[in-house]
């Protein structure tokens, strides 16, 4: 005797359409998860970096007095580094506003002290202001942590939106699979009836549909995840090759172990969701109809 044939006939056009739908949903879900994670990680790194940064902007100050103030600020216990930026560094900071080589001749440049503080040991702002007062320097002290809290809030919202989008896509996938299982069950009603009359338990019949949709969703999910990987790799590649003004606005994107984990997990979740949807649909349908 030959190997046993599958009790459900080989896949038809409906299943090809379902493969495409599951693949597309997994592509969107994986892409949403990957880009959100990438953006979130990059933004978190950026906010962590600026967390301890303080800028001191001085206009009518002598460069030597500014240097002396920077040295004194650096002696504070809560300060890791205080450095007066060079003229070239100031010009580089202003370049996005004027364009390369577009700095007007004779433009009075401000002096800027960049302070890197260790906020875990305390807030140095008042001590810095005291040093500047004592040295007779009029300056604008700006702690970047104020912007960081805004960024953190925005990131929280972004994460919630992304989770909502992924959950919605997953729910859509489950609903589509449940619908497709129901349609497949109706189309195969004759087979289900024969199996039932042959003494097959509900669990056995549900198992046939579960296995069919598990494999289908696993394949569709894998195709969607691979497509998402390719698109994400293209985004990462474009971002890493960007230069000029735009490059400063792009987050530092990359693919790491957790991204690959998401990509591997996507088809498995799709498969499990398909399996569960198929099981519930078949069991419910069998109970209602017989």
């Amino acid at each position: 005797m030959n190997r046993e044939s599958p009790l459900l006939p080989v896949s038809d056009a409906r299943e090809a359409a379902l493969f495409f739908v599951v693949g597309a949903l997994c592509f969107l879900a994986a892409l949403a998860a990957l880009t959100t994670r990438g953006t979130y990680t990059a933004a978190q790194a950026w906010s962590a970096q600026i967390e301890g940064e303080i800028s001191i902007l001085m206009r009518d100050t002598d460069r030597r007095a500014a240097e002396a103030a920077a040295e004194e600020i650096e002696t504070l216990a809560t300060v890791l580094e205080a450095r007066l930026l060079s003229v070239e560094e100031i010009e580089a900071l202003l370049e996005p506003s004027f364009g390369p080589g577009g700095m007007p001749e004779g433009l009075p440049l401000p002096l800027l002290i960049a302070v890197q503080a260790d906020l875990a040991t305390g807030d140095p702002i008042s001590a810095i202001e005291e040093i500047l007062d004592r040295n007779g320097i009029e300056a604008e002290v700006s702690a970047h942590s104020r912007y960081a809290s805004d960024v953190r809030n925005a990131l929280g919202v972004l994460r919630l939106v992304a989770l909502g989008a992924v959950a919605l896509l997953a729910a859509t996938a489950v609903a589509v699979i449940a619908f497709a299982t129901h349609a497949a069950l109706l189309a195969r009603r004759d087979i289900v009836d024969v199996l039932h009359l042959s003494g097959a338990e509900d669990r056995y019949i549900a198992g046939l549909f579960e296995r069919r949709f598990w494999v289908l969703a696993l394949k569709g999910g894998a195709a969607g995840a691979i497509a998402a990987l390719m698109v994400t790799a293209m985004i990462v590649f474009s971002a890493s090759n960007a230069s000029g003004v735009d490059a400063q606005l792009l987050p530092q994107l990359s693919l790491d172990f957790w991204d690959l984990f998401i990509l591997i997990l996507t088809p498995i979740i799709a498969g499990l969701a398909a399996r569960l949807a198929a099981r519930l649909t078949v069991m419910q349908s069998l109970k209602v109809n017989t």
Partner: protein
């Protein structure tokens, strides 16, 4: 015509008490049926089209539940059984349909083996059993044939073999001769009769074919407008 009320004294293979069936509130298809089939009996069920023969058989092979009344099979009240127990009970019943209901993507062997396969048995355990049964119904040479390549008579014999493979206690046949020529119809009924005499299987056959019924010495139940009626006809030798 009055309602037929058989003797309900000892434990029968099938016992229906006050069975009524209604599909989607479209009026009763079966009404107040009381019926007993003794173990090892060979009975015909007849009646005009639309009398409710197929509906009555569906209740007996547990494809439907009655709207009212109780079904007792092999001493067990069907409405008290859970779905797993119902599946186990279905394995004690073999069903042969007029339209065969074979799975066309499977071979004759696989169709016959279906009840064994769904009960979890391995192919190696039942191969010879299935082939022997296919030989018994005269299909020893068509074991690996796909269903569409078989004639109507051959398909019906595959369906019979499938109904018998589990050695059922109760065999139900719904118009088993309806799609085969008269000679094949006679052969099929002789096959059932042989099974009934040799193994003691309880057999119920629904048929229109009164000529065929008269060739057998068996009681005939008659359905009319969803009711079992008293004017029971009997086979030739009764």
């Amino acid at each position: 015509m009055s309602r037929f009320r058989p003797d309900l004294s000892d434990e029968p293979a099938v016992r229906l008490d006050g069975i009524s069936l209604e599909y989607d509130r479209a009026g009763e298809v079966l009404s107040e049926i009381d019926l007993v089939l003794r173990q090892g009996s060979f009975t015909f069920l007849t009646g005009p089209s639309g009398a409710g023969k197929s509906s009555l058989l569906k209740l007996m092979y547990l494809a439907h539940s009655p709207t009212r009344g109780f079904i007792r099979l092999f001493g067990r009240q069907v409405h008290e059984l859970n779905r797993k127990q119902l599946a186990a009970l279905r394995r004690r019943i073999g069903v042969v349909f007029q339209e065969f209901r074979l799975l066309s993507h499977l071979t004759a062997f696989e169709n016959v083996a279906l009840p064994l396969r769904v009960s979890g048995r391995k192919q190696s355990e039942y191969t010879s059993e299935v082939i022997d049964l296919l030989r018994w119904v005269g299909l020893g040479e068509r074991v690996d044939a796909l269903i569409p390549s078989l004639s109507g008579g051959e398909q019906q014999r595959v369906a019979i073999a499938r109904a018998l493979i589990n050695k059922p206690d109760f065999l139900i046949a719904d118009e088993p001769t309806g799609n085969v020529d008269p000679e094949m119809g006679r052969k099929i009924l002789r096959l059932f009769s042989e099974l009934n005499k040799r193994v003691g299987t309880t057999i119920l056959i629904a048929t229109h074919d009164l000529d065929l019924i008269h060739e057998f010495d068996s009681p005939v139940l008659r359905l009319s407008n969803g009711m079992l009626v008293r004017d029971v006809e009997y086979g030739a030798r009764r």
